[in-house]
Each structure stands twice: as C-alpha cells, then as structure tokens.
Symmetry: D2
Subunit: 344 residues, 4 copies
C-alpha cells in the first residue's frame, strides 16, 4: 500500500482521482489539500463519496505532510506545481502533475502561452510526458510526470499510427475537437451555467488555445520535425467526453489503414481500435480510461479521417494520472481502472 496526497482536490480532476482511487487496492489517499475548503470533509462537498472517504478532510497545503507521501498528484491551476515540486522531489516524493506546468519542454514557449515566467525551469529535464503509449519506459523510472491535457491525449493517440508510419503530410493537419463542459473546470462562470451552455453548441479559441503548443510538441516528436496544425475546440452540451475529428492527407498509397491502427495498438490496454466503419460515441468511454478510435477514408480519397473519443476527466486527466502511477510503482498498468463505462 502506498500513501498518496492530492494537492488542489476540490476541482473535477481532484474528485475524479478520489472516485477512481477508491477502487485501487494498493493506494491510500492520506492527504488532500485545498486552501478554500480547509476543514471541510470531502464527502460533505462530494456526497457521491459518502461511505468511501468518511474521515478524509481538506487541509491547508503543507509541504512537510506532502513530503511524507510516496506520491503526490497536482490537480491545480498552472503555477502551483512549479512552486512545490522541487521541495517534494528532494524529499523523495514522486510527482504526478495533472496541470500544464511541466508539459512543454521549452520554458519560453510555456511562458508565452501562460503569460508568466516558468517557475521551475530547472526541473524540466526531469519531467517525463505521461503519455504511456509514447513514453512507457521513461515513465516507469520517472520521478516527475506531466500528465497530458485532455485534447492533446485524444489528438495524439489519433494521429500517432499515421505520423509514426510517415504516411501523411505533417503540414496539413486539422483537429476539430469537441468537449463536454467539465473541460472548463468547476469555476462558477456564466457561460458554463446549464441555462447558457445546454441546448447550444459553439466553437471557442478558434484563433489560439493553450493546448496547441502541447499538441504540436507531441505530434512533432512522432516524426522528428515540426507539424502544421489547425486546432479548433468546441463546447458540446454534455458533462464528460471529448470527440476529436482528425483530418490529414495521405502522401503515399496505403492498403489497409485499419490494420495499421490495430497493429500499433494491439498491446495497449487503454486504446481500443473499433471495427472498420465504426463511429465511436463519447458515452462508450464515460467514466473509464479507454480511448476508442476509428479510421475512415471517405470515398477512397487521400483524406484520412480519424475519430477519437476519451473521457476528458479519465483518460484526459485523472485516469491517465493513475495509469502513470501504476507504471511508476510497478503495479499492473490497469489497476483500479477496470470497470466498464456507464451506459446508458
């Protein structure tokens, strides 16, 4: 049994960590911090956890307490992990950061998109990008893992087989992405109200979104040079789920894209290549850590369309964080992550 702490536990990724870890046989959540809710019992804030964490209470962040943990999850806004990571790493605590703090290798790029100096550039070389399908071996020995963002996970897993195989033009990538509203977090903002966001659909950030440099970095790594990517995120009126519709142009003749995808992901526990002709629904991954993919080639043209769905709070955040933890601590990779999706 390992001891873990959660920093910033009041948001959706925090409570999702608790929900999933309640099913993990080898993890005990010993600390959960929140400045605003210190002293409140987690099950008073999240009644779905009644009966599971009946004594766990939000506390003020305390580096000493966190330093006693085997691992600490950061489920915080950007900047927080920068401030605490160094001290915890020095104490031997492993860090799994769900925020954007260590996702970009280049501190300068980070600083441009987040509008503030990078708070821990010296730690960047230690950070491993926590996409197991790309970096499994490095994750196993990492002390500091940057869990990928939700859009970046769905987009990278969809393009990976095509880019690795060098089949498509990396300069002509278009990722049209749709997210449920939990992607915007639990902050009280008018546009996120049910009265505003339901029964409507819209794009946002069409001229630039913070996940763009992360996706570019990841796609670039797959074939060793920069990509040209247009990324347009949209808000869809549902709670959970991301659907990425990924367009690219074949540069070579290919016989069987379906076989390519199936082969690439044959041994991946959390990537499911659907049968040819499928249209994966986001609800088919509601609450679980799986990414389901389908590949289409409309009218045998050179355009490839990949459909990629994840639960933004699981494979796009807390589930992938636990998958990383499992790898870092030598547990079975799917430990605590085996329940089927809730459907309907």
């Amino acid at each position: 049994m390992i001891k873990v702490g959660i920093v910033g536990g009041t948001g959706y990724t925090g409570v999702e960590l608790l929900r999933l870890l309640a099913q993990h046989p080898h993890v005990s959540v010993e600390a959960i911090t929140s400045r605003s809710e210190a002293g409140v019992k987690v099950c008073d804030m999240y009644p779905n956890l009644r009966g599971h964490y009946d004594t766990l209470t939000f506390s003020e962040p305390d580096a000493k307490q966190l330093g006693d943990m085997d691992a600490v999850f950061f489920a915080t806004p950007h900047g927080v992990a920068h401030a605490l990571a160094g001290e915890l790493l020095d104490k031997g605590t492993r860090i799994i950061d769900l925020s954007a703090d260590f996702r970009l290798r280049d501190a300068k790029v980070w600083s441009e998109w987040y509008g503030q100096p990078h708070g821990a550039p010296s730690l960047l070389e230690k950070a491993v990008y926590g996409l197991p399908e790309m970096h499994r071996e490095k994750i196993k020995t990492a002390r500091l893992v940057a869990v990928p963002g939700c859009y970046p996970t769905a987009v990278q897993l969809g393009y990976l087989p095509l880019l690795e195989a060098g089949l498509i033009d990396p300069q002509q990538l278009i990722a049209d992405c749709k997210s449920g509203v939990t992607g915007a977090g639990r902050g009280a903002k008018v546009p996120s109200l049910l009265a505003e966001a339901s029964e409507s659909f819209k794009a946002y950030g069409a001229s630039g979104h913070r996940h763009l440099p992360e996706i570019r970095q990841g796609l670039g790594d797959m074939q060793a040079h920069p990509v040209g990517l247009t990324f347009v995120p949209h808000l869809t009126p549902m709670i959970r789920g991301i659907h990425a519709t990924l367009y690219s142009q074949l540069t070579t003749s290919v016989d069987d894209l379906q076989a390519l995808f199936e082969k690439r992901y044959a041994s991946e526990p959390f990537v499911d290549v659907m049968p040819a002709g499928s249209h994966p629904e986001t609800r088919s991954v509601k609450g679980i850590n799986t990414c389901r993919l389908a590949v289409h080639r409309p009218e045998n043209s050179n355009t490839v369309v990949v459909l990629s769905v994840i639960d933004n709070l699981v494979k796009g955040a807390s589930g992938q964080a636990i998958q990383n933890l499992n790898l870092m601590f030598g547990f079975e990779e799917n430990m605590g992550l085996t329940a089927p999706a809730l459907m309907p």
Copy 2:
C-alpha cells in the same frame, strides 16, 4: 464462481447487469438470451462492454442451457418469467426476476393491472419480495426472488421508518415521484426521443400506474393494514435516477425524526441517511446501489417530507438484483457493488 444466465439481455436492465457483474469476483455470465438479437455479440450492441465480454453472444432462450445455471436473471417484459420459472426451479436453478411477474402476492390483482391471467399462480407462495431492508432473512433461503420495481423501492425505503414506528396516518400518503427516461425502457417510442423528452417535464399516469398496487402491498406490510396512497409519477429530462418526494401526516408527537431514520438504517449497507437539512441529488447515486434519504418537517408542522433518491437501473433494478443474489448465495452483500457514484 457461480454460473448465471440473463434472459432478455438487450434492455437497459440487462446491460446494467452485465456492467455490474463485470466487477463481481464470484459470478460468471455464461448465457444471455434475446430472440431479436440472437447471434449478435453483446459488445457489438453495447460498445461500453468491449474488453469485458468479448465473446459473449446473445442466444435464443433455451431452457436446457438456462437450467444448467446456478441462477438466472429475468430482465424481461411481464409474462416471460411466468412461462419459464417453473421449469428452471425444477432443475434447481435459482431465479431472480426483475420483472413484475412475482411482485404481487395476489394473482387476481396482478391480472387486473396487467390485463392478462397470471401465468404461474402456483409459484407465488415460493416467491420472496426482494427488498433486503424488509425481507433479508427470507431472501437468503429463497429460490425465487421478485426484485422490487424502481418507484416501489424509492417509496418504500422512504416511508419504512415512519410506518414501522406507527408515527404517521397510513391513510394520507402522497408520493410525488420523478424518474429519468430509462425508466421507460429501451423501446423506440416517439415520446422518449431526445427531441421530445428533453427540455420538458411532465406527469404521466396520474390516474393510475402499475407500480401502485406493488407500493400499496409493501407499505401495508409495514404496519399490517391497507394504506391510502396517492402516487403521481413524472418524467424528468435525464437518463438515470428517481427522486421520490414523500408526504405524510404525523399522528403523534415526535422528537427526533432524524434519529429515527438513522437508527433504522444504521446497519444497512445500501441506505444512506443524509445529515439533517440535506436535499439528496439523484446524481449522488448515479451508477450505484445506494438509496439516499433525507427527512424534513417544514416549519415544524405535522407534515413530514421524506426525500428519497436511487438510480432506477441499480437500486431500482439490476443492482438490487445482485444484492439479492449475494444474499441467496452467501456472498458479502455488497460484493461487486462497491464503486462510488459517477459525479459529475
């Protein structure tokens, strides 16, 4: 490991049994029948089950095959269990019937509400009403369990402490109930379309609903004489969940209704009495077998208001069926039913 079969597995209670049983360490689903989908793999129909039941295929109902099972769940329209139950019981198979076939003790009443003769009146004396909070000991030795309906579960658990204690007038009960749309099943009907049922709220069956005699029978048992009950069900635009708002009139002075409820349910694994002043939300039980209750006494009047929420597909159907199975086979009562609710 026991072997179980599911008759009528294509509806929502069937797929929910599969979802929940995937987490049960001592149950193996060996047969699932459907006349309309025979030959189809369950995970082709329900992609959320991909990776869990990859070889399980719907088959024609076959009494011989079902008779080899330790237990058979009926997730069927009324009448089907009548026809098969006798033969299976003779073979030693235990039956857990999610339909209404064996819920009413009086075949004549059944026949009035269901518009056809009762198909197996001789089995009625063997049938145990599967509400563990009322009939746990009988369930443990039962061969044939009638799983309560969704509304009846929510209503009975809410009134139980009051009626058992003889505190309220049993002639003045009003149950105003609200259900998500899965309560209407998976049939393709215009009123259940998203375009018809979302963004709207309505009552139905205000002049009489089939769950009424079942609720009356159950409430009557709690204090040994017939009750006067008005029951109005409503349709609310969501997938899962029942909220019962239960009104009654105190006939005696009572100090502490909260303590009464807490004491009555102190050792029940699946009834959660919320703190005084609470308003349980249906989402706090999404996907789980718990009933959450709160008791109010507006302005210290004689009117008691009990709020009772369940997931209609879990505590209102498939989860309670598994709870019964656990009792019948001597497993821990909560086996396979320990995950927290999905929230948000």
Copy 3:
C-alpha cells in the same frame, strides 16, 4: 407608442422582456439600466437580439431618465424597486415590478423572509398584485403592479377554481413544484453549472422558501381565510419551465371538476384547461405566456391532483409583466404575446 424603461436588464427576466417587447407594436424600449454593464450594447451581451435592438445600450440607472418613461419595469433583486419606486410614481411613471418588493401586503412578513426592513411600506397600499385572473379590474387602473413570482403563478392558477368554489380543505394543501434552472437567475453559482445541475434532480428549500408567504397570501384571498400549505420546490435539468403538481382533499361531493375548471377559465386568454386525462408538458408553453392545466382525481378518491405548467420566464415573469402593461395602458391583453410555443 409608449416609452418604457427596464431597470436591471442583464438578467434573464430583463432579456426576456426585450425578446417579447420586440414583437409589441405599441411599445418602444428607450432605456435599460445595469450598473455592471453600463456602456455595453445589449446585442453584444445577447446576440439573439442582434437586428432588433442594435443601438440600445445599458446605462447607469438615472431617475430623471426613467421618470420620462410612461412605464418602467423592474427586473432587479429585491430592494431596488423599494428605493426608486416612490420618485418614479411621483413623476407619473407607472411601475411594473418583477421583483418581490411589493408582492406581500404585510411589510413585517416581507421583512422576516427577506432579512431586511421593507424599504417602502407607505407604497404598499398602492400596489396591486398583478395576477390578471384574480385582479384584472384593479390592474387596469394601477400605477404600481407587483408581478407574481413564478411558483406562485403556477400554484395559484391551479388551486383557484377549487378554492373559489369552496370544494377543498384549505388546511391540507400540498404543492410539489419543479422548476428549470433559469428560476435561479443568471448568477454564476457552482450548483447552477451544467456539469452540476444536468443529469440530476433534487429538492431544495424543503423547510421554507421565499415564495411560500406569497402563495399563502394569494390562496388565502381566494376563500377568505388562511391556508395550510406544504410547498416543496425542486430543480429539474432544463432551462425553462415550471410544473406544479397540486394535491388537495375534496370536502364535498363534486360531479365534474373538468367542467368547473373549463368554466372558470373560459374567457381567460392565457389559461388553457387541457382535455380530461391530459398531462401538460412544460415544453408546450416554452416561450409563451400561457398556463396549461389538467385536473385529475385518481381512482375516484377524494384527492384532487391538478397539473399546472408555465414558462417561468414568461407567464412566471416577463410575459405576465407585459400582460399587466397591456391592461394598464388599455391595449389588447395579448398584444405582443401571440406567438406559439417553440416545440420541439
């Protein structure tokens, strides 16, 4: 053409006034105030109004400007109309107050429920309660109208025929009410987020809600003595609509409740008694000023169940406000309010 102003125009009842008044041939909106949005064009905040109010801009509240109007609507939190009403009335401006400021005749009761002294008790005797089905003649000559709340409108119209005719026990009234989320206003609160409020149903205020004294006052007026009322509001996951399910006990034998309702409302332009056996849906009044009613008597018992639906933003607020304005200024009562409901 009369000139009107709107105080507090950024909330849902404000924008709904604009939407409806865009169709009114004899009203020109000349001023709309908002402290927080002063200087912003209304169609920048509400793009649905583009093409209708392209130059109208929120301004700081200004008693002088408002005093030049023929009528002013208050779409404000409580307390604001108290402060401004006297001055405007002195200038000859008629006031239609959508807030709770002048709904209760008794300043002491007001002050108990709203936790502050009543700010304009001397105006109370001038205020007319703007439920046209009860007070049409008084409204025609009123200078200050208090538009009823949303729940109070649905509940009063449902009980009116029964109480006026003296058929039911006024001490045993139970109003189980369900509202869409716009009833909670446009404030940015966590419980109103789509991620929190959708796919869930809950009661709130079970021990006391501010609409209770207003409903009691109105029902009391119908039969000249106080009523005993239990009122439990619920939140349902949809944008608009209120469904009131109203229970009462007959104290005398009655032949034909359907005829009673039809007769009472025969000449009402905005009350629609549905055919016997109906279950009105809230969507059937989406966007319109109609209240649809159905009356049931389950199993010929003494319990009467009335189902009453309105759009909380129209008949429950802005539409009823315009209906009052039409009466006050001698227009056709349904002017600007003739479009059918949006369905589906």
Copy 4:
C-alpha cells in the same frame, strides 16, 4: 391572403411550418395531410398549437384539394413530391419542396444516392434551388422551389464569399458539421432516444452522407468547377441547431476577410456576419431564420476557419421555405419571420 397546404405535416418540419405561419399575416393554412394521422386535430398532436389552429385536422392527401391551393409545401420523405408535383403544377399551384426530391440537377446522381429511380426527371429544369442568397431572382418567378437541406445551407453560406471571390483552393475543403437531433426527424429510432443520444457525441456517415452531392453542386456553382470536399456530420445532444466549422486554404494574399464577408452579406436579411473574433452559438438562432457567421484565420496562417450556425428546422428547412414563399408571392422577404431567437 393566400391559401397554402402542407403535405406530410406530422414531422418536425411540418409542425415548424405551422408554428411560423401562425405569425404570417398573409397566409392561411387550409390543408394539412398525413396518411397515418388522418382525422386527428393538429393541436391534439402538437399542444403548442392549441389556440392557433384549433380546427385544423390532418387529412388524407388529396390532389384535388391541394390543387386549389396557391402553394403547397412538401414536408415529406423523398419520393413523395416526385409523385404529386406534376399534377399540382398543372393546376397552377406553386410548390415549395422541403425534401431532397428536386435539389440535385442530375437525376442520375440523385438516383445513386437515394437508391431508386428519379420519379420526375422532366420537372428538374423547372426546379429552382431555393437558396435566396444565391438565386433570389430566379426564386421570384419560380413555380417549383427545392428548399436546400440543413447542412447544405450552413455550409454554402459559409463558403460563399470565399469561393465567389476565388480566394481559396476549391480542392481542399473540409466541412466538419454538428447537428442537433431533430435533424434525424421524428421517427421512433433507438439511437434518437434521450437515453441514447444525450450525454454523448458522435460522428456518423463519415464515409458518405446524402447531403454531400447537394453541397458539392452548390459549391461548384459558386466558382464554375467541381470542388473537392470532405464532409463529416456529427450528432450533438441538443434539440435544434447546426454548427458548421469550415476549413479551407487561401491561395492568394488577402487583407481583410472580415470586410469581405460583411460586404457580401450587407443587404441579406437573414445572414448576420458577427464581429471579428466571434464564436457564434447555435442558441443565438434558436427558432429563427438567421444564419450567423464568423471568420477566423488562426495565427495568420493560410488556413481560414468559418463558423456558421443555423437552426436546422428554420433556416435549414421551414423558415427558408417561407422565405422562398415570400419571394415567390411578392411579400416582404422577412414576413412572418421577425421574432428574435429564444434565449436562454
């Protein structure tokens, strides 16, 4: 006052015609046909119409009765208008066909996509494609108008300024489209149930959809040669609305795309070019005939992104049909179509 009939009035486009025409001062609906519902009053089927069409009743289709109308709308599945159009045109009745029967100029292409021979190829040369922004003058004198499909309307209006001006590569068009569920009609199908379609998002028809040839034909007309188009439709969990996200590649340097769009649509009553940087929401056009557009150029690349929203039942069907009727009969183009969108 002109007399109109509606063939196939039970579907969503039929009831939407009734809703909108109730506000049209110069149109009287004298006949509405439905084989399945003959004899039923429309307001019994659609209670939102109570008070508006209280005597109108569905009747069997009758060419004689329809031939007495000034105009007949077809709100039918494909093939029905083929069979009746010739006879009605001979009687002098003008036809406004909301189905796909006369949208494609090439009967052979029609027959390939619809899997049956074209039933009235001789009428094709009389048919005018009813997109007023392209063909206004022809519509004014047309006897037979084919109302564009919902996706084709949103896509064509978005690409029109760019293609007419010759600024983009017509071989590299990608239209990623999202529709509410009413796009699938009112048929009782399992995938359209609230329990199946809500809280989920999916693509469909990724390998080919019937609107593809219609869009291709329309886009081809804008610049006189065939286009290369990838079109992927998606289902989003809401009732109404289409959002088209349109990608293309600039082939020439352009200073000001915003000005280009504003100029092209300056005098169009139903196309609203939003301010630069906008992200139009589908709810901003709920219930109305407007198409709102925004144009983006992410990071000043050569990729242009156009966002285009309509209400699929109004500008995508019944509203556009009435806009065509207004043009054909010399009414103001926006007659009956002036109400603001319902929001929230």
